[in-house]
């Protein structure tokens, strides 16, 4: 876990350093959107480092679509 955390921190730090000049030049809206994107990246990075399977995109998709998808698959797999 520590190695993964170190990799995540390193990668995020490199991206922040690389994007610093562009971030400084952008307006409030750009900085806000950038901040939200980096927050999402940090959350997913910590999820990867911790290896605990925190809620992500697939949990949302699963919640909404798994029941109808199962019905569709069952219909196609049933003998006509």
């Amino acid at each position: 876990m520590l190695i993964r955390l170190a990799i995540v921190i390193l990668i995020i730090a490199v991206v922040l350093v690389f994007d610093a000049p562009n971030y400084k030049k952008s307006n409030k809206r750009g900085r806000a959107v950038y901040g939200i994107s980096i927050t999402a990246a940090i959350y997913l990075g910590l999820d990867y480092a911790a290896g605990k399977d925190w809620p992500d995109l697939h949990n949302v998709a699963d919640f909404i679509f798994s029941a109808p998808a199962k019905m569709i698959a069952t219909y196609f797999e049933s003998k006509s």
Partner: protein, 371 residues
């Protein structure tokens, strides 16, 4: 602000062809044959019809609102708040596509070649390359990818040609031994990947150079690209069935398996690595296009001044997503084969359809008022 980049209609249709064929040619045949058996080619015909329909809707909206992306004309038609609501699922599916493509590539490398290397290593290097390619812009992408796709197709055709001694054309029969349902199941799967994903090109069509003298040239070239894509996918599916017959559906990377069986005069053997290279190149190109569209969507949605500001954060998000979304082969296959077609249909295809209907109704009302 950066100079607006433009590409020619032929370049845009090449990019479209690359997007639709890039990773599909390797990933589609195995699972599709698993669902539809010998009727897999019929499934492709059915799902490609939806692809043609989606393309027709995109081109209609592009001609109605020239120079506008999907986000721009959606804002004009339904207002900014409803556009933001429609964009959220679209953004999420783009994140899924980008991370899923690179995950597939990483899984291929870790299951077939480098089994002890963590998948994160492959995904990280790939996303680094993708991010820098997106930063270079669409003109650079198109020029580079045109060469890559030609090399890719060359290798694929060589593999299909050299496999001729292994073909058993009788394996294609019977075509529908279990009725129409398996074919429809295959069509459902191939609708999700790759045909419904074509809706992302609604964001890229404004990059086409305007040429008033050739009004319909983009339309024609885009349809030709989709037709070529359909024919190539059908050809690879049929060739895989000819080689492996009933067991084709049990092999995930079926073209890789076909390449493995080639033994030409004891000289040309074990050339499956070219299919590995083809998969990597195709996945890289497609994921680059998706990240480009994702960046463009967010930039237009929030009206950001710098269109390169979000590239690296988005690459980070999709990189980490690609390593956390995968729990097991069964879970991943379930998502790709059952949930994904419904998800992209609801989040991408249906909104496009709705916007097309709204545009048609507005035109009809306008014409009635004129009369």
């Amino acid at each position: 602000m950066n100079v607006k980049e433009t590409v020619s209609p032929v370049q845009m249709s090449t990019l479209f062809f690359i997007f639709m064929t890039g990773s599909a040619i390797i990933n589609i045949p195995g699972p599709l044959i698993g669902f539809a058996k010998n009727g897999a080619w019929l499934s492709l015909l059915i799902s490609s019809a939806f692809g043609f329909f989606a393309l027709a809707c995109m081109l209609y909206l592009h001609n109605k609102y020239p120079g506008s992306t999907y986000i721009d004309y959606a804002k004009e038609m339904v207002g900014p708040w409803l556009t933001a609501l429609l964009s959220v699922p679209l953004i999420l599916i783009m994140c899924h596509i980008a991370s899923g493509i690179v995950l597939d590539m990483g899984l291929f490398l870790t299951t077939t070649m480098m089994k002890k290397t963590p998948i994160f290593v492959f995904n990280a290097f790939t996303f680094t390359l993708i991010a820098f390619t997106v930063r270079a812009g669409i003109e650079v992408m198109v020029r580079m990818f045109t060469n890559l796709i030609l090399i890719m197709l060359f290798f694929v055709f060589i593999v299909l040609l050299l496999s001729i001694p292994n073909y058993h054309p009788d394996y294609i029969l019977p075509i529908m031994p279990d009725g129409i349902k398996p074919v429809l199941h295959g069509a459902y799967f191939s609708f999700g990947f790759p045909y419904a994903e074509s809706v992302l090109f609604a964001m890229l069509l404004p990059f086409v150079k305007k040429n008033p003298g050739k009004k319909y040239s983009l339309n024609r070239w885009m349809f030709i690209a989709l037709l070529l894509n359909t024919l190539i996918l059908i050809l690879s599916v049929i060739c895989v069935i000819f080689v492996a017959g009933p067991v084709s559906g049990d092999v995930k990377y079926s073209l890789y398996m076909v390449a493995r069986l080639i033994d030409f005069q004891d000289i040309i053997q074990r050339i499956e690595s070219v299919i590995g290279m083809t998969l990597i190149a195709g996945s890289y190109m497609k994921a680059t296009v998706v990240l480009f569209v994702l960046n463009l969507t967010l930039t237009r949605l929030f009206a950001l001044q710098n269109d390169r500001l979000l590239i690296f954060p988005l690459a980070l998000i999709t990189l980490f997503l690609s390593v956390v979304i995968f729990d097991s082969e069964i879970q991943w296959f379930g998502i790709v084969s059952s949930i994904w077609p419904l998800w992209i249909g609801a989040a991408g295809f249906i909104p496009l359809l709705l916007l097309t209907l709204i545009a048609c109704c507005k035109t009809a009302v306008k014409n009635r008022k004129k009369q």
